[in-house]
């Protein structure tokens, strides 16, 4: 190709404009038809209609398949048709393939504009409105109307600008809008990056002109959508769970509640039973870590062991459920599921999300107060639509404050749009897709995000589902009317704040820095178009907000109705309607997915192993009746997390030993039948919090802005000591994506991408290296040694017993005490050889004791919970 100036060089390179192609007359009718008839029409014809596509006539070809056009008018290279051909995915493997020459022919034909002699194609508003959104509404739309021009709809386009009309129907050459684009004045070139908007391509401009020249045809009526069939919807997880009767059979003493009945029925079939009941010491340690993330103190252990009342265990459960640490522990599980982080990620700067922590505190408070899960979800999905908070007459009371903070749920994912250069429409669509993935995996256990680019291969999730779902959120997540991260702060007017706000919020008000990272409806959503292959350059049909197809399989879906909200700013009410469906007692997924995840946190694996996938590619439940019974029970008990947990932990199943008997190993090798409790390693937060608690360094400070970390010269990230001394619980340490404390990261604290439904459980040498060599860990052990000496003076046996009991929860045998005593003596000798003669006995002893404490922190009995 010769290089010459004056030609739009880039355009010439990437796609040959129509004018250049006119010379050689390559039409569908000349060579392409014969080829398609021979190799494609066998499946894509009027009757077989594979993929909703008929390739037997010009008209049918231009109509496209079930997801819209297969030939892209604006950019031929983006054509679904061409991509399939070039990737050799079509024709399918088992059919006769295209030769290289044939592929070249099709490529030629498509890249020269896919021309038909018998041209049946008409450009309508359906193609033009999304084009104007993509290229123009940034400055001529909802937030700005430069020159008084609004290009969001055909009607507003016809109104023109302050200076007059911008289109002359039937004459594109005389239309100002076309002239401005042709003159390269729109968009202004130097504004492209600051405004994060790209110029119209030649192909798009051609479409726009054709549309104007042919009289600005309106969009065609809605296409008849292919409905998911009853057969496709006939799947267990799409139907409302029901409580069928409890299984009969024996079990007798081993049945504490119905959970046991379900489990024993299956175990019995294999001739198995539960393992023996665990000791009280094992139970209190297990229960404390599971419910609070911390071990019991020696005093707590002894009180429980000595409690002879028949309901001693139940009292213990209730005490732990009421402890403030319960909220912290179970908040952490939820924060994983939603992908909580205190920074934006996406860009190297990893900018801190300054006010995100209000959401973390909200989650802690919600679990502490046992907020019904139904309400908890509603607030998080649509808290801003629950109340008319913009109304100047409305005091911001605690429930309103909580609901607004709750919307931080949809603000968690990595987000690079705070910089102009990474704030184009595709970048924003990535953010929205991530949020919908969080919603899908954490709340509904469905893989909606797969439908962003194509119909789901296995589940009845047509591509339309993803875009109907996006439309439900469009009032707040609008890729054409985007709020950059720093604009997502809701500043609450101080004069309207009620007295009953949470303490940390009141502190923030006092310090004049109350803002919350939130999501809110803005009352002016853009229309939503299906994007072929997820590509904003190839919009398809316009879609209305609505539920996924699978909602039709249960009665909850039938009650769905979107009602606009007559608030201070008019709101669409779409998310509120959606949250009503999500939390409908008849919803088939919400309760099941949550109950299953709670079960997994306690029993080590889900009844459905794939916690985030309840679709057809997910694992089937091992105990379907139990899952349904629990789900219905959960809803009946007002969606109470605490009652659900209480039910689970008071079962006989939960009180089993974790010992693997030879019989259970043979009959239930993977513990699918729950023939024992799993042996569990501490989670990252508990590793750190336990060391701090054991060494008396754990601060009681709670809530509020996240506590800092420091980065050492060698790359180690350490949490910082608090100003008032001690270290905060891990949940209150800043969760900056690029600066997760090394100790926690090493023990599998997740990289949120975008969220984490189940933690990994790795065993790597870095863990051993950190616990054995890290100076901070050792410093904590030194502190413990000093305090043990203070407390027990010279009574070494008492000291050893206390250390053992507080670290392991059990009582040492006297032989074990002797072993540790002997170890201490030998340590002292080693220290003595090294240190000068003058070193006092006291110093030598303290050093040896510190090493013993350090050994304890490194031992398996410390790290594992039976």
């Amino acid at each position: 190709m010769r290089f010459s100036f004056g030609l739009p060089f880039l355009t010439l390179l990437l796609f040959v404009p129509l004018s250049a192609a006119r010379a050689d007359e390559l039409f569908y009718e000349s060579a392409v038809k014969t080829l398609l008839d021979q190799k494609c029409v066998g499946c894509h014809n009027r009757t077989d209609f594979e993929g909703g596509l008929d390739l037997s006539s010009p008209k049918a070809i231009q109509k496209g398949g079930e997801h819209g056009a297969i030939l892209d008018d604006a950019d031929p290279r983006e054509s679904v048709f061409l991509k399939q051909v070039l990737a050799r995915t079509m024709p399918p493997e088992d059919s006769e393939q295209l030769s290289d020459g044939e592929i070249r022919l099709l490529k030629d034909w498509v890249s020269k504009g896919a021309r038909f002699r018998e041209d049946a194609k008409i450009v309508t508003a359906e193609r033009i409105v999304p084009l104007l959104h993509l290229r123009c509404v940034r400055c001529h739309g909802a937030s700005e109307q430069e020159g008084g021009l609004d290009l969001r709809s055909v009607a507003s386009l016809l109104k023109g600008s302050r200076k007059g009309p911008v289109v002359v129907p039937g004459n594109s050459a005389k239309s100002l809008i076309v002239q401005k684009v042709l003159a390269e004045e729109m968009p202004p070139r130097k504004q492209i990056v600051p405004a994060s908007v790209k110029t119209m391509t030649q192909g798009e401009l051609r479409l726009l002109r054709e549309w104007i020249d042919t009289g600005m045809k309106p969009a065609p009526g809605r296409r008849p959508a292919r409905q998911t069939t009853a057969k496709e919807l006939d799947f267990w997880s799409f139907k409302t769970p029901r409580q069928s009767g409890l299984p009969g059979g024996g079990g007798g003493e081993a049945i504490y509640n119905p959970i046991d009945q379900f489990l024993l029925a299956r175990l019995g079939e294999r001739g198995l039973a539960f393992s023996p009941q665990a000791s009280r010491r094992t139970l209190i340690r297990r229960l404390s870590f599971d419910l609070t993330g911390l071990p019991p103190t020696v005093g707590e252990i002894r009180r429980f062991v000595e409690d002879t009342s028949p309901d001693a265990y139940e009292k213990l459960v209730d005490r732990l459920l009421l402890s403030p640490e319960f909220g912290e522990k179970w908040a952490a599980h939820w924060l994983d599921a939603v992908g909580y982080a205190d920074s934006e990620g996406g860009q190297n700067e990893d900018r801190v999300r300054a006010y995100m922590w209000h959401y973390r505190d909200y989650v802690v408070r919600s679990f502490s107060r046992d907020k019904p899960f139904r309400q908890f979800l509603t607030e998080q999905i649509a808290g801003d639509e629950l109340y008319d908070y913009e109304n100047p007459e409305m005091p911001i009371t605690e429930p309103i404050f909580e609901s607004l903070v709750a919307t931080g749920f949809l603000r968690t994912t990595p987000d690079r749009t705070f910089q102009n250069i990474t704030n184009f429409v595709p970048d924003r669509l990535d953010v929205i897709a991530d949020e919908l993935q969080v919603l899908g995996s954490a709340v509904l256990g469905m893989t909606f995000h797969c439908a962003r680019c194509h119909a789901h291969k296995f589940d009845p999730l047509p591509q339309q589902d993803f875009y109907r779902l996006s439309a439900l959120f469009k009032d707040a997540f609008d890729e054409h009317d985007w709020l950059k991260p720093e604009k997502r702060l809701l500043q609450l007017p101080e004069e309207r704040l009620a007295e009953d706000l949470p303490q940390s919020a009141r502190d923030a008000v006092r310090e004049k820095r109350l803002a919350i990272r939130a999501l809110w409806s803005r009352g002016r959503p853009s229309p939503t178009f299906l994007l072929l292959r997820g590509n904003p350059l190839t919009p398809g049909e316009e879609l209305q907000p609505g539920l996924p197809e699978l909602a039709r399989a249960s009665s909850a879906g039938q009650r769905f109705e979107i009602r606009a909200l007559d608030h201070q700013t008019r709101k669409t009410g779409r998310r509120l309607a959606f949250s009503r469906w999500v939390t409908d007692p008849q919803n088939p997924l919400t309760a099941r997915v949550y109950v299953n995840r709670v079960w997994q946190k306690l029993f080590g694996r889900g009844i459905v192993r794939t916690l985030d996938n309840f679709g057809k590619t997910g694992a089937p439940p091992t105990h379907p009746a139990l899952l349904d019974w629990l789900s219905v029970e959960f809803v009946k008990r007002d969606w109470s997390s605490k009652q659900l947990l209480r039910l689970m932990v008071t079962s006989r199943a939960y009180r089993q030993q974790s010992v693997v008997s030879a019989g259970a190993r043979k009959g239930d090798p993977e513990n699918l039948l729950v023939s024992r409790m799993p042996l569990k390693r501490l989670q990252a937060e508990s590793v750190r919090d336990f060391i701090l608690q054991l060494t008396l360094q754990l601060s009681s400070e709670k809530s509020g802005p996240p506590r800092p970390v420091k980065e050492m010269e060698n790359g180690l990230i350490l949490s910082s000591e608090l100003e008032r001394g001690g270290w905060a619980r891990s949940i209150y340490v800043i969760h900056r994506r690029s600066k997760i404390p090394t100790l926690m990261e090493t023990f599998d604290y997740p990289q949120m991408g975008p969220n984490c439904i189940a933690r990994k459980n790795s065993i790597v040498p870095q863990q051993a290296l950190h616990l054995t060599n890290n100076a901070q860990v050792r410093g904590w052990c030194d502190a413990l040694a000093r305090s043990l000496v203070l407390q027990f003076q010279a009574d070494r046996d008492a000291m050893i017993r206390h250390l053992w009991e507080s670290a392991y929860g059990t009582e040492p045998r006297s032989s074990e005490v002797a072993l540790w005593r002997e170890y201490l003596d030998r340590l002292k000798q080693k220290w003595q050889l090294e240190l000068k003669d003058g070193t006092s006995e006291q110093v030598l002893f303290e050093k040896s004791l510190a090493t013993l404490c350090h050994t304890v922190v490194n031992s398996a009995s410390f790290m594992y919970v039976d």
Partner: protein
């Protein structure tokens, strides 16, 4: 699944890998402990783990990835453009306005400030700023037609390392160590040698394991001081005390495990403590460059302050490969190739720092017989524009070049690579790759191919998807550069 009697090494590895799983109770120590774990009885919990076994003979045993963060300028290094000399000074901004990061500073077309010459038998064009590499150009396969999908560093760096433009996905090295493990159980499979002068853009994200078990993430080795975080004691304690503690801990843990039969993670954890101790020795040894002859040290440029730092890392890379590390990745200070300003000086600086060590690494691999089993890959995350980026005072002598996603260069050398060829063409201005275009996915597929892995076989099931390095794309292996 029967693990008892493997009938072949490969079959054994396959069933072993499948059996380990990534379930909640299971360890994920594949690359470090596969021999030991093989002995465990019973199935691992959970599936979703389906690491591939090479189904073709791998050409490469190890990979050294010389990552040139910042975006080396193709038209100033390997892709001279006559048209730029001819049209130097002509306005071109409007034609590419969408493709410029800093429109306000966009200048006219700019010729390269450097002279080019053809080198070796292949006659490849190399810029005067790479004199040492010019001597090796017959050994490499140059790709001049690569392109990527985002012109900004962060997304482009995520893309080149993990296949997508955002964080959270496993990186190439993590995928490779997940798929193949290490050949030395005392060293990690995936080692990162970053520049002591500072982390590149995206920091540690560039070697994350994403949703794979964290054991597959790159382990940072530092060229100086303590090579690995926490590798040495961070506090004072006599060795005798340390040894005593280690022995006593082993005793305690053994007794704990004895009381809990059939819990494989307890044995695995004890092994990890032993490995940690061995790693302290072996990693220290691998990084001890005093064992290299003075001639070798000189060859890598350890005698010159300009090349000392990068030379040290190139030499360490060779030592790690020799010891069976699977994937070594070298980073370089900040965004050294991000030559927005004064490209005459700033690009020369980056070349000066890396040219001699890089050429030495190639020559050294060759002379030590490591050439045929080591794949060396060089390249950045983006390329640069044919137009100038102006300085604040608009002094043309201080111009640089802005980012470009449409054309970039990369080269391959070593195992199974056809030496002395140049693949692909850019347009006359060097703005966009036009012939034999190679995408990032193609580039990934080619590296995996050389390791004996088909990109489609390397996946991890998550949230209903078979996640792959190459996503849902159908990349092509760049067969033209393979021998």
């Amino acid at each position: 699944m029967n693990l008892a009697e493997p009938n072949s090494e490969r079959q054994d590895r396959r069933s072993f890998l499948r059996s380990v799983g990534t379930g909640l109770q299971t360890t994920a120590l594949i690359h470090l402990f596969r021999n030991e774990l093989r002995a465990f009885e019973g199935k691992g919990v959970g599936s979703g783990f389906d690491a591939p076994i090479p189904d073709r003979p791998p050409r490469a045993r190890s990979v050294i990835h010389l990552f040139m963060n910042g975006g080396p300028s193709q038209m100033d290094l390997f892709d001279p453009k006559e048209a730029l000399n001819k049209h130097h000074g002509k306005e071109y901004f409007n034609q590419i306005a969408d493709e410029v990061e800093f429109p306000a500073a966009a200048g006219a077309l700019m010729k390269s400030p450097f002279r080019f010459q053809q080198h070796g038998e292949s006659g490849a064009w190399v810029s005067e700023v790479l004199p040492c590499f010019a001597g090796q150009v017959d050994q490499v396969a140059l790709i001049r037609s690569m392109y990527t999908s985002n012109l900004t560093h962060e997304p482009a760096i995520y893309k080149i390392h993990s296949g997508v433009e955002f964080e959270g996905k496993p990186t190439l090295g993590a995928w490779v160590s997940y798929g193949l493990g290490s050949e030395n159980e005392n060293l990690p499979a995936y080692v990162v040698l970053d520049d002591p002068k500072g982390l590149p853009v995206n920091g540690i994200d560039s070697w994350q394991a994403g949703f794979l078990p964290p054991s597959y993430q790159g382990v940072r080795f530092r060229g100086q001081g303590t090579p690995v975080v926490n590798l040495k004691k961070g506090f004072q304690e006599p060795d005798a005390v340390t040894e005593l503690e280690r022995a006593f801990l082993k005793k305690l843990d053994a007794s704990h495990a004895r009381q809990r039969p059939f819990q494989p993670q307890l044995a695995a954890r004890m092994k990890s403590y032993e490995l940690a101790a061995r790693m302290q020795v072996e990693a220290t040894d691998a990084l001890d460059l005093s064992r290299e002859t003075a001639a070798t040290q000189r060859m890598y440029g350890l005698d010159d302050p300009a090349t000392e730092s990068y030379g040290r890392r190139c030499l360490i890379a060779r030592r790690l490969i020799e010891r069976g590390v699977r994937f070594v990745q070298l980073f370089i200070e900040g965004q050294i190739w991000d030559n927005h300003a004064d490209i005459g000086k700033s690009l020369s600086y980056a070349c000066k720092k890396t040219d001699r060590p890089t050429a030495a690494l190639l020559a050294d691999l060759k002379q030590r017989g490591l050439w045929d089993e080591t794949l060396v890959v060089w390249g950045g995350e983006i390329g640069r524009l044919p137009i100038a980026q102006l300085s604040d005072d608009k002094n043309p002598a201080k111009s640089g070049r802005d980012h470009n996603k449409n054309a970039m260069v990369s080269w391959f050398a070593g195992a199974g690579i056809k030496p002395g060829i140049s693949l692909g063409q850019t347009d006359e201005l060097g703005f966009s790759a036009v012939e034999n275009r190679v995408s990032v996915e193609d580039w990934h597929a080619t590296i995996l191919h050389q390791l004996g892995i088909h990109y489609e076989d390397l996946f991890y099931e998550r949230n209903g998807l078979k996640e792959r390095l190459t996503g849902v794309t159908r990349p092509r292996v760049v067969a033209e550069i393979l021998s």
